[in-house]
Symmetry: C2
Subunit: 202 residues, 2 copies
DNA sequence: CTTTTTTCCTGACCTGTGTCATTTTCTATT
DNA sequence: AATAGAAAATGACACAGGTCAGGAAAAAAG
């Protein structure tokens, strides 16, 4: 594992974001009003599914509190795209004129509070506020960058590297501490790293 | 391989887009003028690198003619994210305030003509024309959907399935014909499918 | 405090796929 | 046309990691 280090290579398979997304700060007070009127806040228990891959996407979601996994459903194994802590916008890819269904499923790891924003309203706000739209685009870009990194790691690295990546990531970005209680099972770690539950244990 | 079919699962590892992107149609004549003044058109020979992962992204690119691969550089193996035929916008993830470097490298398979658009101008147009920004966001979404599909396939399917996927994809989306001359080597197919050159041959 | 159920761990086995070495075929150059 | 060099094909081998079966530990339920 002593390959030459190159700083331009994507090395982390990290499964979460770096920055928070104060995207709503760019809305005017009236726009915020419009948004709030088309938003409902819902609390989910641990393990509940917030949205299901393939269903029509009628809202964009903002995770107010909690921790969720965003994953692709597979037979027999799922693939976790990201793990998202509070303060993140979820379901932006649903704002897609071509195919307005959810690309992925989202399930809570712990009790979570989610703001459900009507997608038509969200869209309208983007069309009338370019700064806001630009901000959303930046969020998507960040997401893309992160997905690429993960993509690379899962297809090119071995078990140990992947697992290490994920643990470092969880430590650094989600819990922000060197020690933490893992609210995920080995099975979850398997989904995260694209390997079998048995292999995670080794 | 007789798993139950579920229509909501991402099954294709396809490496290219479905739709064309007439995104510039949403610009006003003046805006088009602004864009054109900040654009240069360059011709690349087969095998040349148009942009290099990690360098500062000073422009967004529009592929006027040709065929290119967009890939992550790896040691020792690269990973092709998509293959892009003419009519596509490349490098949109570079419009990212956080880290304005190219996330990936782009290399031509055949002689290609590329419009290099100044990124600051592009950004400015998005900020002053929300419809345009929205259109770009839609492009990114399509890209994301496609990347997820590929991600899933490369991490969960086996050799034969992946290779079949890619060939079907190339046939359907790029050459639009059942028979075609493949401008890619086995090595390229290896990069595409995330496997070794030797394995492709089997 | 028991019982039941779920999660976790372990070992044996086996298949898919990467690596390497060698030969054959194709492509380019003089 | 002859030669050199690259790309493609093939077979032998190794090993990472998936699958399966069974047991230990922990959590949930009664």
């Amino acid at each position: 594992m002593d390959e030459p280090y190159e700083s331009n290579l994507p090395t982390s398979s990290c499964a979460t974001h770096v920055y928070d997304s104060p995207c709503f700060a760019l809305l005017t007070p009236e726009e915020k009003g419009i948004l709030d009127r088309q938003t409902v806040t819902i609390t989910y228990k641990k393990g509940e599914t917030i949205c299901k891959q393939g269903t029509f996407a009628s809202n964009v979601m903002f995770l107010e509190k909690g921790l969720v996994k965003i994953y692709l459903e597979g037979n027999p194994k799922n693939l976790i795209l990201t793990i998202t802590p509070s303060g993140q916008l979820i379901g932006v890819p649903a704002i897609y004129d071509g195919n307005n269904t959810f690309l992925y499923s989202v399930t809570t790891y712990v009790e979570s509070v989610v703001k459900m924003i009507d997608v038509a309203t969200f869209k309208q706000l983007m069309l009338q506020n370019a700064s806001f739209a630009y901000r959303i685009l930046n969020l998507m870009n960040e997401n893309t960058a992160q997905t690429y990194g993960r993509f690379f790691c899962l297809t090119q690295k071995h078990l140990h590297g992947r697992l290490a990546d994920i643990l470092i990531c969880l430590s650094g970005r989600i819990f922000k501490s060197l020690e933490f209680d893992l609210p995920l099972s080995r099975n979850d770690l398997g989904e995260l790293t694209g390997m079998s539950t048995e292999s995670v244990i080794r």
